[in-house]
């Protein structure tokens, strides 16, 4: 019996990479990104993770601009505000979208050649989020634009799978925007399904976080071609120990939906909050896991941080992951 522990995506980059990320020439960049990936994987292994993701996304600056820059048909006019004085480059779709080059093949080639003893999972920004975070000057509707992104992501996943070759490849579709427009869940459904359709040999994950209504996702689970749902919970939970876990109430609902299906889906439970430096003690994480196990069969449960740990220092990120693994080991003693 095991409870799989997994990374979600990003991890803080070492200074030698982050401070010069956008100014390095391609040779220097590759050298530093590879070095940072190996160092991060080493940290993940020391923490005891079963699945090391893609090694902390050292090849990527962020999740939107990285893929968008590799697609024809998108013009970036400048930054728009995310909050306070933080901005992101929001692209404008001005003509038909066509993939220019692969988003993540460099990462996967590197991992294929350098990681033999751990599972990996490739996060890819999802079609709905790419659509929602872009201006649309070309497509007739938001559905049409989401499906255009969906086709490109499908093409990208095929390419990654070809590089990976034999053996199952885990693909995680990141959709932080999935529930921001409750009346567009049909677009989420069609575009996510389109992005992974007719590709053999992949295990599909969906990552959604900071949603105000997970039920919107739960309602479409029977129709989504997703095997594992990696969701954020710790951020909405209290930080003192105890049997009551107010942040984890939605797990019961997930389980109820699962009960209605013959092919069961797994849930990656966010047990550590990536937005605070407070390192959750092992006992607190253990309480969260044990609460979740009241509703989930252990074979359907995975453990992960709420989201990528890029906003925490590498030291704090490591300790959070290590405590998650230690808590899992404590729980396993009683299972």
């Amino acid at each position: 019996m095991n409870l799989i522990t997994q990374e979600i995506g990003s991890f803080r980059k070492p200074d030698y990479l982050s401070s010069r990320f956008k100014t390095l020439n391609s040779k220097e960049f590759l050298e530093k990104a590879e070095r940072a990936t190996l160092e991060t994987i080493d940290l993940f292994k020391k923490a005891g993770l079963d699945n090391i993701g893609i090694g902390g996304e050292m090849f990527r600056w962020e999740m939107y601009e990285h893929p968008v820059r590799k697609i024809n048909g998108i013009e970036i006019y400048g930054p728009v505000r995310s909050f306070d004085n933080r901005f992101y480059n929001k692209g404008s779709v001005i003509s038909e979208l066509k993939k220019k080059e692969s988003f993540h093949s460099d990462e996967i080639k590197f991992l294929k050649n350098n990681v033999k003893d751990k599972d990996i999972k490739v996060p890819i920004t999802g079609p709905y989020t790419l659509m929602d975070w872009s201006f649309n000057e070309h497509y007739r509707s938001r559905m049409d634009l989401a499906l255009a992104f969906s086709n490109i992501i499908n093409e990208e996943i095929r390419e990654l799978k070809n590089i990976w070759g034999e053996g199952k490849l885990q693909i995680q579709i990141d959709e932080p925007a999935a529930t921001t427009h409750p009346d567009e869940m049909d677009i989420v459904l069609e575009s996510v399904n389109g992005s992974i359709s007719n590709i053999d040999g992949i295990e599909t994950h969906l990552h959604v976080c900071y949603s105000t209504d997970y039920d919107l996702i739960f309602k479409i689970i029977p129709d989504l071609k997703i095997d594992v749902y990696n969701l954020e919970f710790a951020n909405r939970d209290k930080i003192n120990k105890g049997k009551e876990r107010p942040g984890y109430g939605d797990i019961k609902r997930f389980s109820e939906v699962n009960e209605t299906m013959s092919r069961k889906r797994s849930l990656g439970v966010g047990v550590t909050d990536v937005h605070i430096d407070f390192v959750e003690p092992v006992d607190l994480i253990k309480d969260r896991i044990e609460y979740s196990l009241k509703y989930l069969d252990p074979s359907l449960m995975r453990l992960n941080p709420d989201c990528g740990l890029r906003t925490r220092s590498r030291e704090v990120g490591f300790q959070k992951l290590k405590n998650m693994v230690d808590a899992k080991n404590e729980v396993l003693k009683n299972l």
Binding site: P79, V80, R81, F83, D84, N85, N136, T180
Partner: protein, 291 residues
């Protein structure tokens, strides 16, 4: 038919402002320096509006971290809550937590704030200056409110009257970003102020029932619905959520020419959701409509 354009609310920051604020956040430049830059950049913005023929422009609010923040931080009884999604956008604001709205702090002199660049709230440029405030009902809707909402709305109206008095405000743009059931709260605002009210969503007559006030302008999706409640109707015809330039808008507005002598055009949201270069182009385009 005469067409005038209105630019309101937070305007996208220039690269210079973004970089300076970033340096200020890291204590690399002083609050005084950043306050001076906000003033200078505001004056450049007014100049740009004037050159392009925009007759109605409120403060660009370059030092506002979100549409509610400086007010929240200036009212005793309100604290800042968590980052919260602004409507269905990918932009976030700090949700005000309203306990008791007690009194308004200093807003029109240099003052340090925690969690926002320093005040003053506005950077006027002349006596015809157009002030800006977020809508009262939206402010309450976008907050976590302890106590009775209606009472908090009334208290906010009092605060707005204090602001009007402190600044001797004659003209004021109020933007209600949320769907509002009724605008009668504005009967509590000093009648001496000319208000341009920008609304969101679809307007209907019920929203104005029992309203005694006549606004200077109400800008909405439908000028016919609002025309009897204001002197000059307005239309939110420019899309602040798309970089596409509405070059056909003038043609679309021709349908109003037999019904109104004058109309004010504006955007369906303040322009901060666009890259600066596109917002500048939209100003140029809107100014050309008047000509």
């Amino acid at each position: 038919m005469e067409i005038r354009s209105l630019i309101y609310g937070l305007y996208p920051r220039s690269e210079k402002v973004r970089k300076s604020l970033s340096r200020w956040e890291r204590n690399m430049i002083s609050e005084r320096e950043v306050a001076e830059l906000m003033y200078e950049e505001s004056q450049l913005y007014y100049k740009m509006c004037k050159v392009n023929g925009i007759e109605l422009c409120s403060d660009p609010l370059f030092n506002w971290y979100d549409i509610l923040r400086p007010l929240s931080l200036s009212i005793e009884g309100i604290t800042l809550g968590s980052l919260t999604r602004y409507k269905e956008t990918n932009t976030f604001y700090r949700m005000p937590i309203i306990n008791d709205i007690i009194s308004l702090g200093e807003i029109n002199v240099f003052r340090s704030l925690k969690d926002n660049p320093p005040l003053p709230l506005y950077h006027p440029n002349d006596s015809d200056y157009l002030y800006f405030l977020p809508g009262i009902e939206s402010f309450i809707k976008m907050s976590r409110v302890r106590g009775e909402r209606k009472q908090r709305e009334d208290e906010m109206a009092n605060i707005y009257n204090d602001i009007i008095k402190k600044y001797s405000i004659k003209s004021l743009v109020i933007y209600e970003p949320m769907n509002v059931s009724n605008f009668s709260i504005y009967d509590k605002i000093s009648p001496s102020v000319e208000i341009l009210l920008v609304t969101s969503g679809k307007v209907d007559q019920n929203m104005f029932s029992s309203l005694a006030r006549k606004f200077y302008s109400i800008l909405s999706d439908n000028p016919y619905v609002v025309s009897k409640y204001c002197k000059i109707p307005g239309i939110t015809i420019v899309d602040a959520f798309n970089t596409h330039l509405e070059r056909d808008a003038l043609e679309k507005m021709k349908k109003y020419k037999d019904d109104f002598d004058e109309i004010i055009v504006t955007s369906n949201e303040y322009l901060d959701f666009l890259p600066r270069i596109i917002a500048d182009r939209k100003i140029e385009m809107m100014g050309s409509w008047g000509r």
